[in-house]
C-alpha cells in the first residue's frame, strides 16, 4: 500500500462496488484499472448483506476523466451490480490499522499515553513489542502513524478505506 501522505488528495478516489459473488470477479475488476494505468492503493473485498453479492471498496489514484471511464467500463462487467465513486461528504468512511512498535521500558508509558489520547487500543503486549489497533478516518490514521514514527514502527497493516453512503442512498 502506498503511503497515504504521498498521494495528492484530489487525485485519490474511493469507489464502492457491489459485485456478484463469483470466482474471477476480482481479476476482471483489476484488469479494468490496470489497463488504464490506474494504481490501486487499497482494496477491500467483503461479504454484503445478501450472500449472492460481495462488496469491493477500492481506493485508487489517477485523473478524474480516466476514473470516469474506469467506472463505466467496470459497470459493463456482467458480474457488476453497481459501481460508484463516493466523496467524504456523501459517505461515512473509516479504516483500521494495526501497528507493531518496538517496546522498551522507556517508551511503554509514552505509547500508553498516546493510545489514550487517540482512543486507540493496545491489543497485544510482549517483552519486545506492542501492537496497537486504531480505527478512524484515513487522515486520523495518517496523523497517528506520523506521531509514532519516532517510536520505531516495526510493521503496519491497514485495512484500506471502507465507505458507506449516508442516509437512504445505497452504497
Amino acid at each position: 500500500m502506498a503511503k497515504a501522505n504521498n498521494i495528492k488528495k484530489k487525485d485519490t478516489h474511493t469507489i464502492s462496488m457491489l459485485v456478484a459473488n463469483k470466482p474471477g470477479v476480482l481479476v476482471r475488476v483489476a484488469l479494468v484499472f490496470a489497463r488504464r494505468g490506474y494504481n490501486i492503493d487499497a482494496l477491500v473485498v467483503s461479504p454484503s448483506v445478501n450472500p449472492r453479492y460481495s462488496r469491493m471498496t477500492i481506493t485508487a489514484k489517477g485523473d478524474p476523466d480516466t476514473l470516469d471511464q474506469i467506472i463505466k467500463q467496470a459497470s459493463k462487467l456482467i458480474d457488476m451490480i453497481h459501481a460508484e465513486e463516493h466523496s467524504d461528504i456523501d459517505a461515512v468512511h473509516c479504516e483500521l490499522a494495526l501497528l507493531k512498535l518496538k517496546a522498551t521500558a522507556a517508551n511503554k508509558t509514552v505509547i500508553a499515553k498516546l493510545a489514550r489520547k487517540f482512543h486507540v487500543r493496545i491489543v497485544n503486549e510482549s517483552k519486545e513489542a506492542v501492537i496497537i489497533e486504531q480505527t478512524g478516518t484515513t487522515e486520523e490514521l495518517d496523523e497517528f502513524e506520523g506521531l509514532l514514527k519516532k517510536h520505531n514502527i516495526i510493521e503496519m497493516v491497514r485495512s484500506g478505506k471502507l465507505v458507506m453512503a449516508k442516509g437512504k442512498e445505497s452504497t
Binding site: 474471477g24 481479476v27 484488469l31 470516469d68 463505466k72 459497470s75 456482467i78 451490480i81
Partner: protein
C-alpha cells in the same frame, strides 16, 4: 452444399439412461438454434465431438482454430446470429485469441467453447492445460469456467443472451473434460442469473427531444453512421432521418451500407482513407450526429481538433462510449434503431439545399480516381468487381491497402453486405470470414478481397472451402508487398523498405488447384472484366489471382494523429513528417 461427414459410420450407441454433460451441452446448442459449429478437436473435447456425430448441428472442421473464429465471426456478421466455435484445450484454445479479440473489437456475437483439463487437475500444469479464461479475459464480453455439469443449461442460456444483446461481443465457455463426460442430472430449462446485466432500450425521451432541437437549429447537419446502426438494423430508421432532414450521411468502415452508398446523400467512408468529400463535409458541418459509432481514432485523428465548432451528438447503446473519445453536446444511450425511429418523429423537415450544394461541390472537385497508365491497378480490379456486382454481393475483406480500396470502390447498399475487420485490423480475417458468411448465406454471392500477405495467414482454409464446395470467391490482390506498410515506409520513412517484400509468394493459381479449387489469373487491364465476370459466375469456389502493380498507394490519406484538415488527396511530392497517431 454440405455433405454429412463421412465419419458417421459408427453405429449409434445403445440409448443410455442418463445424459452426459456433452449431450446436455449439444442439446442446449440445438435448442438455441445453432446450425453450424466451426471447430477442431482434441483430447479434452472428444466427448463433445462424439455427441456431434448424432446431432443435427453441422460441424465444420477447420484447419486452424483461428480460421474457426473468423468463420464464426463472418457467419455472425452475415446473419446476425452468434457464431459458435469449439476447440480443444491448451494450444487449441490459445489459437482462438486473435479471432476472439477481432470479434470483441467489432462487437460481434460469438460463443467460444473450449475444452479444458479435468477439474481436479486445474492449476497443476496438466497436459494441454491453459488458463484460457484468464488469457482471454480482456477480449471477451463475458466468460465462464464451468464447475458443475448441471449448470450447463443456465450458462448456455446466459451466454447466448449476453453475446447478442446490448453491445454484442464474444462469450467464452471453458469446459473441463470431467464436466462434459460426467452425468447430467439437472433440468435443460433453467433460469438465467445475471442481475448485473441490463440492456439499454429505446433511450430517454428527454434526451431524444433535446437532440431533435439541436437538429432543428442546425443548417449543416451531418449523420455519421457506424457499426452499431448496422447491428441494431437501423437501416430504415436512418434512411427516414436522413431524408426528412435532407442531411448528408458519412459512414465508418463498418457502417458501410446502413445508408445506401449509391444514394446522392451518401458521401461514403470518412477518416484516414475515406473520401475527400466525406472528410470535407466533416470539417464544414455545423452538427455531427454519430449513430452507433465510437469516434475511433481512424476517424477523428486528433480529438482536440475534431469538428471544432460543430454540435456533437452521440447515440450509442454502450454508456462507456459516451465521452470516451469525443465529449458530445448531447447524447442518448439506447438501441440505435429505436432511438432514431423516435428521433425522426421530432425533427422538422429542413431546407439544406445550400449545404447539399456545398457537399456536391466537394464530391465533384475531389473524386476518387486512379489510372492504369503504369499497368493493372488494384483499384481497377476492385472497381470492376463493383461494376459487375453493383452491391448485390457480400464483400468480405482482409486488412491492408486492398481493404481500403474495397471500402472506397465497393459501395454497399445494406449493412450485412460488407464485412471487414475494423477495430482489430486482423490480417488473415478475410478469407475464413467469407467462408463463414457463405455458410450463413448459401445462396448469395460472397467475395473475399484479400492481400497476398493476409491471405497467406489463413490460406489453409482452402481445404474447408474445397470440401464443402462453397461457392465463395477469393480475389487475391497480389502486389508482392505488405502493401500498406510499404506505403507508410515510402511516405514517412524515406522509402526505406524494411520487412515488406513478399518474395517467395506461391503461384496462387497452382495453390488453389492443389486444393481442388479453380484458379484464375489476371494481370492485364483488358482481361479484368471478362475473367472476373466468368469467375464470379462459376458455381464452385474460385481463387482469382490478380497481379497488380507493386507500388500503388491509397489516397486520400489523413496521416495518423492528424485531423481531417490535413488530408492528402494527391500523391505528395515531398517527404512527409512521421505520423504521431497510434498506428
Amino acid at each position: 452444399m454440405l455433405k454429412k461427414s463421412k465419419t458417421k459410420t459408427r453405429k449409434k450407441p445403445s440409448p443410455k439412461k442418463q445424459m452426459t454433460g456433452a449431450e446436455a451441452l449439444v442439446k442446449c446448442l440445438e435448442n438455441h438454434g445453432v446450425e453450424y459449429i466451426f471447430g477442431l478437436s482434441g483430447g479434452s473435447v472428444i466427448p463433445i465431438f462424439d455427441v456431434l456425430v448424432d446431432s443435427k448441428i453441422k460441424l465444420i472442421l477447420v484447419r486452424h482454430e483461428q480460421g474457426a473464429t473468423h468463420m464464426a465471426d463472418g457467419y455472425a456478421r452475415a446473419t446476425g446470429k452468434p457464431g459458435v466455435v469449439l476447440v480443444t484445450s491448451g494450444p487449441g484454445s490459445t489459437n482462438t485469441v486473435t479471432g476472439i479479440m477481432t470479434a470483441h473489437m467489432d462487437s460481434v456475437p460469438m460463443i467460444v467453447l473450449t475444452g479444458q483439463t479435468i477439474s481436479p487437475m486445474l492449476g497443476k500444469d496438466a497436459f494441454q492445460e491453459a488458463d484460457i479464461a484468464g488469457i482471454s479475459m480482456p477480449v471477451v464480453k463475458h466468460s465462464y469456467l464451468v464447475k458443475k455439469t448441471n449448470d450447463l443449461p443456465r450458462i448456455l442460456k446466459e451466454a447466448f443472451y449476453i453475446t447478442n444483446t446490448g453491445r454484442p461481443g464474444p462469450v467464452l465457455i471453458d469446459l473441463p473434460k470431467d464436466i462434459t463426460s460426467g452425468p447430467f442430472t439437472g433440468s435443460l430449462n433453467q433460469k438465467m442469473d445475471i442481475p448485473g446485466y441490463s440492456v439499454p432500450g429505446k433511450g430517454n425521451q428527454k434526451d431524444i427531444l433535446k437532440i431533435a432541437q439541436l437538429f432543428n437549429a442546425s443548417k449543416k447537419p451531418l449523420l455519421l453512421v457506424g457499426h452499431g446502426a448496422a447491428i441494431s438494423k437501423a437501416e430504415n430508421a436512418v434512411r427516414a432521418l436522413a431524408r426528412k432532414l435532407k442531411a448528408p450521411v458519412v459512414n465508418t468502415l463498418l457502417g458501410k451500407g446502413v445508408f445506401p452508398e449509391s444514394s446522392p446523400l451518401n458521401l461514403g467512408m470518412l477518416g484516414m482513407h475515406g473520401t475527400a468529400y466525406a472528410n470535407k463535409a466533416l470539417i464544414n458541418c455545423d452538427l455531427i450526429c454519430s449513430i452507433g459509432s465510437r469516434w475511433d481514432d481512424r476517424i477523428n485523428g486528433n480529438n482536440n481538433e475534431f469538428c471544432i465548432g460543430a454540435v456533437k451528438i452521440h447515440i450509442d447503446i454502450d454508456p462507456a462510449e459516451i465521452g470516451k473519445v469525443v465529449q458530445p453536446d448531447a447524447h442518448v444511450i439506447g438501441d440505435a434503431r429505436l432511438v432514431v425511429e423516435e428521433l425522426v418523429k421530432h425533427v422538422e423537415p429542413k431546407d439544406t439545399s445550400k449545404w447539399l450544394q456545398e457537399v456536391g461541390f466537394y464530391r465533384k472537385e475531389f473524386p476518387l480516381k486512379y489510372s492504369n497508365d503504369k499497368g493493372l491497378t488494384a483499384q481497377k480490379v476492385i472497381d470492376e468487381l463493383y461494376q459487375i456486382t453493383k452491391g448485390s454481393a457480400t464483400i468480405v475483406t482482409d486488412v491492408g491497402q486492398h481493404q481500403m480500396w474495397a471500402a472506397q470502390f465497393c459501395l454497399a447498399e445494406r449493412g450485412d453486405k460488407w464485412i471487414s475487420s475494423g477495430g482489430a485490423g486482423t490480417m488473415g480475417f478475410g478469407f475464413p470470414a467469407a467462408i463463414g458468411a457463405q455458410f450463413g448465406k448459401p445462396k448469395e454471392l460472397v467475395v473475399a478481397v484479400c492481400g497476398d500477405g493476409g491471405f497467406q495467414m489463413t490460406l489453409s482454409e482452402l481445404a474447408t472451402a474445397s470440401i464443402h464446395k462453397l461457392p465463395v470467391k477469393v480475389i487475391i490482390i497480389d502486389n508482392k508487398y505488405l502493401g500498406m506498410v510499404r506505403q507508410w515506409q515510402e511516405l514517412f520513412f524515406d522509402n526505406r523498405l524494411s520487412g515488406v517484400d513478399l518474395e517467395g509468394n506461391p503461384d496462387f493459381v497452382k495453390l488453389a488447384e492443389a486444393y481442388g479449387i479453380k484458379g484464375v489469373h489476371i494481370d492485364k487491364v483488358e482481361d479484368v472484366h471478362k475473367k472476373l465476370k466468368a469467375a464470379l459466375a462459376y458455381k464452385g469456389p474460385v481463387v482469382i489471382h490478380a497481379e497488380v502493380i507493386k507500388e500503388g498507394n491509397v489516397f486520400p490519406m489523413v496521416p495518423a494523429g492528424k485531423s481531417a484538415h490535413h488530408i492528402i488527396i494527391e500523391p505528395p511530392t515531398t517527404q512527409l513528417e512521421k505520423p504521431t497517431g497510434s498506428t
